[in-house]
Amino acid sequence: MNGHDLTVLGYLAILLAGIVLQLLATRTRAPIPPLGKVIAWAMSTRTRRVGILVAWAWVGLHFFAR
């Protein structure tokens, strides 16, 4: 396994961890909120709402804008 594979594996592991958390949140009684509820709560103040929207805008800028 080379560095490239290891790096990609790391991304996949993190993605998998997110999926597992979401499944735990929606399929079990574990005290884990679904991602949607976390985002809804995070968007309930102006600072966090604008911050999250800026992060979203940055993703678009990063991939498409000069």
Partner: protein, 254 residues
């Protein structure tokens, strides 16, 4: 001294940042109050600086400043500048609103009190129509902007323009009146936070392992590098743009 009424600042969390200028509670909204301009124009600058520094207690502000800085030094000065600008504005705004009472914050940042659900009858048919128009507009946007080359000026204007509009909408407040959601359990928040931070750190590690910040590495690809093949085609760009739009729509509707 002891006679200072505790609610003279409408219950603000601290009085340490209240200089002995004899300002009244109405001064809190510097630049945004009815008067618009603080009474002491010369004293306003340090007060704004204090507000901005107080706003750094918000983690999202710190994250934005870090993103802006990293974007700047990795060859994306426009991204960096815009994000730094918003980060500083948010820091100032958060610091300003952390001083007055909670009700003031609720008025500007938190969702207002819930109102009766159900739009009036004439508006019922408008929602599906607006949804359809929005979807059609989104598809058109994704197809048209996806046809532009990456990092071209047309793509930059289209993405930056839409991003600015969405951020402005978010700044104004939630689009829907609904009860403030309860704070999720701390353990659950910590777990989601750990996943998010792990993703950021993994991306940062890959970025720092590149030959330099502007040159990608096959051995340590960033997400940008991994998505380059997809984004090199019109269809790929359009699909990714559609996903980006959908995520933005989801966020704005929260």
């Amino acid at each position: 001294m002891m006679a200072r009424p505790r609610r003279s600042r409408t219950g603000g969390p601290s009085s340490r940042d209240q200089p002995t200028t004899g300002r009244e509670p109405g001064d809190e909204g510097a630049g945004t109050g009815p008067a618009g301009v603080p009474a002491g124009g010369v004293r306003a600058a340090p007060r704004h600086l204090v507000s901005a520094l107080a706003g750094l207690r918000e983690p999202i502000v710190v994250i934005l400043l870090i993103i802006g800085f990293m974007s700047w030094i990795s060859g994306k000065p426009l991204d960096g500048l815009l994000i730094l600008l918003v980060g500083v504005s948010l820091a100032w705004d958060a610091g300003r609103r952390s001083r007055p009472a909670r009700p003031a914050e609720a008025a500007s940042g938190a969702p207002p009190a819930p109102v009766a659900d159900g739009p009036p009858a004439p508006a019922r048919w408008r929602r599906p129509a607006l949804l359809t128009a929005g979807l059609a507009g989104g598809v058109l946007y994704a197809v048209v902007v996806g046809s532009f080359s990456r990092y071209s000026w047309p793509a930059t204007v289209a993405v930056a323009g839409l991003g600015a509009v969405v951020v402005a909408i978010g700044w104004r407040g939630p689009r829907h009146t609904r009860p403030a959601p309860p704070r999720p359990p701390a353990a659950g928040l910590a777990l989601w936070g750990a996943v998010f931070v792990a993703g950021c750190l993994w991306e940062l590690w890959s970025l720092l392992e590149q030959p330099n910040l502007a040159t990608s590495s096959y051995a340590h690809p960033t997400i940008s590098t991994l998505t380059d093949p997809v984004l090199s085609t019109w269809a790929g760009r359009s699909v990714v743009l559609a996903g980006w739009l959908g995520l933005g729509w989801f966020l704005v509707e929260r």
